[in-house]
Subunit: 229 residues, 2 copies
DNA sequence: ACACCAAGTTCACAATTCGTTCATTTTGGC
DNA sequence: GCCAAAATGAACGAATTGTGAACTTGGTGT
């Protein structure tokens, strides 16, 4: 599967030349033309990496970065015009992963994208393992392994998939139906209460592991993996 | 509000047993007895999902499917008799969402309806996140989440909907009846005092959070979310 | 072929939360 | 002070979620 890349920039020429070059490199590219569009495209498209301009109408790059970080930890590279005031500290605080100054060399951008993706995907182990880590918890989708407080814990596949999905989309609420869609698959035929039971069994395993996150019920809506504070 | 379902089939017994079962499941069911009727009922009734027989007098299911797809993308499940020649590829091209072979198990049909609706509805909900933000407060309609001073606070669905409505129409006064209309729905039957109680509970949660806005009573009229200064 | 086991699912019932109503008290306008 | 409007507190019923246990299924080993 191709790596999905989202460009958020209000200058059409830049967007197009980026798309041309990056699609040629094998990425699947989507473009958003301002900040507001950027945030909503992010949620819809779920890209693997974001190239984010700072100066934009409607909503600037800093704000977009902030809002993306509320729901995801996917890597973000900030694009900044030469001469533009650029606060690196702010960028780091907001969780950007890298910066590049316009006009930039395509080759350099490409290299930075690869570097960031590499860093991101090898948070811990080798290869492109999909791992989610928070305080005292580590979920590896590839190894189908759950580690609590550093110790490996047995867990059935479906429970792990559910936990992985919720944790990698932390702070966001999903209805039972959405979870059936995303974790069980769009063609799943079955009762939505199945989700309840898996959540319950997950909670038994996760009980008392950390006070920095919880598997929370949002009454009348569904469930979410919530990071506290 | 009940999910509206349209059955297009020329066999009265099948229609009736379907109606019986599906109404019991909570759907609002309408029946069309042939293809021509099917198309015109679709336009009038605007169902959320269609069960469509293929072999029918006057106009067959393929044609009906084609005509519905010209005006709508609502989900369609094709009903096909055992032994009938059935072209899955054609079905997909025409935009049918699922197929089931007669005679079918009611439970399976029910499961397929749910699955198709689930797929369909989690499609269009991915749009813009509706968030309202003011000093120290943030209300997300999509996430059903209230944040005060950056921290997530538990809140029942109805209270959140009310708060979201008032905050997104700040400085404007609404009578209790208007609020019942907009938040509870035009067909709500009940006491307007209900609004008072929800406002009261909201005030308990919002107390002391900010001095830049307030949930204000307009005596003799109703309530408003007022921005100060 | 058979029993066995674990994962996944379904089901029935218990516990909880919410929305609503109602009775009572408090407040605001005149 | 009087009256209507609004705030409040308590309580009920309905809807939602939690939970334990039974059932189904697919894989394993005998």
């Amino acid at each position: 599967m191709a790596t999905k890349l989202l460009i958020v920039d209000d200058e059409p020429n830049i967007c197009e030349s980026l798309r041309l070059y990056l699609e040629n490199e094998g990425y699947e590219v989507k473009i958003a033309n301002d900040g507001v569009e950027g945030v909503s495209y992010f949620k819809m498209y779920e890209p693997d990496i974001v190239l984010l301009d700072i100066m934009m109408p409607r909503k600037d790059g800093w704000q977009v970065c902030r809002e993306i970080r509320e729901v995801s930890s996917r890597p973000i590279i900030m694009l900044t015009a030469k001469g533009e005031i650029f606060d690196k500290v702010l960028g780091l605080e907001l969780g950007a992963d890298d910066f590049i100054v316009k006009p930039f060399d395509m080759k350099e951008l490409s290299a930075r994208i690869k570097a960031v993706l590499r860093r991101y995907s090898s948070h811990d182990s080798a290869g492109d393992d999909e791992v989610v880590k928070f305080d005292n918890i580590e979920v590896s989708r590839q190894k189908y392994e759950l580690k609590l407080c550093g110790k490996s814990v047995d867990i059935p596949p479906k429970e792990l998939e559910l936990l992985y999905f919720l944790a990698s989309n932390y702070n966001r609420v999903f209805t039972r139906d959405q979870l059936l869609d995303k974790v069980w698959g769009f063609d799943y035929l079955g009762d939505s209460r199945t989700v309840d039971v898996h959540v319950k069994r997950l909670r038994e395993k996760l009980e008392g592991v950390s006070d920095k996150w919880v598997l929370k019920t949002v009454w009348g809506v569904g469930y979410k993996f919530e990071l506290l504070q």
